[in-house]
């Protein structure tokens, strides 16, 4: 059974490091991203990858309550996406209203 645990351990560590590299790539995407949508999508996928990392860590460190953290992240990234999209569409609609008023004048 001994070699099984460190086999699992190396598997988990390798996976976590790959996902960490992916997170850094997502960060660069969110910095470069020309449009607001890229930024929201990048943060959303950083959130999902954090969920996966914490899930793997919780199985690796044998602590069941870390899975609550993953569930919280799922909720938080969902609420953040809703708020951001509502805000951006609201801002865009106001801009259009201003332009239409300017054209009427």
């Amino acid at each position: 059974m001994g070699n099984m645990t460190n086999a699992y351990e190396t598997l988990a560590v390798v996976l976590i490091c790959c996902i960490a590299v992916l997170i850094v790539a997502c960060l660069i995407r969110s910095v470069l991203g020309p449009r607001v949508t890229d930024r929201i999508v990048a943060v959303n996928s950083i959130g999902t990858m954090t969920i996966v990392i914490i899930a793997i860590l919780s199985v690796l460190l044998e602590e069941a309550y870390l899975l609550d953290v993953c569930l919280i992240y799922a909720m938080i990234s969902f609420v953040a996406v809703i708020v951001l999209t509502k805000i951006y569409t609201g801002v865009y609609r106001e801009e259009e209203k201003e332009e239409s008023q300017k054209e009427e004048k």
Binding site: M1, L11, D38, S45, V52, V59, A74, T89, Y92
Partner: protein, 109 residues
């Protein structure tokens, strides 16, 4: 038996991480915003499912497995809704949408 189970779990988790890597690769590769958003959303949800299945196989059945299923269930309900919201925001605010993809006005469907 133990080695067999480890192999299956490893395969599932590697596929999951591969999906995520393809999502990130897709985000950099595609030219139009909607394509980038599409790859990120689908691959994320699928990658999450595969990794979670791998973890469940690794951990065996118990409370952790139940929690992971709840997480996947929650994500499979909220993921598409958030992608829908982002896509609708993109469509309604992108002025130069025509040359990115042909858009049928509501009337012409």
């Amino acid at each position: 038996m133990e080695m067999f189970r480890f192999m299956i779990a490893a395969i599932f988790m590697f596929c999951g991480v591969f999906c995520m890597a393809s999502a990130v690769f897709g985000m950099f590769r595609f030219r139009y915003v909607l394509n980038r958003m599409h790859t990120a959303a689908t691959a994320d949800t699928f990658g999450l499912l595969l990794t979670m299945i791998g973890l469940i196989i690794w951990k065996g059945f118990g409370f952790e497995a139940l929690k992971m299923i709840i997480i996947v269930g929650f994500f499979w309900v909220s993921g598409p809704v958030s992608s829908h919201l982002i896509a609708r925001m993109e469509v309604s605010t992108n002025k130069k949408l025509e040359e990115e993809c042909e858009v049928k006005k509501y009337g012409e469907l």
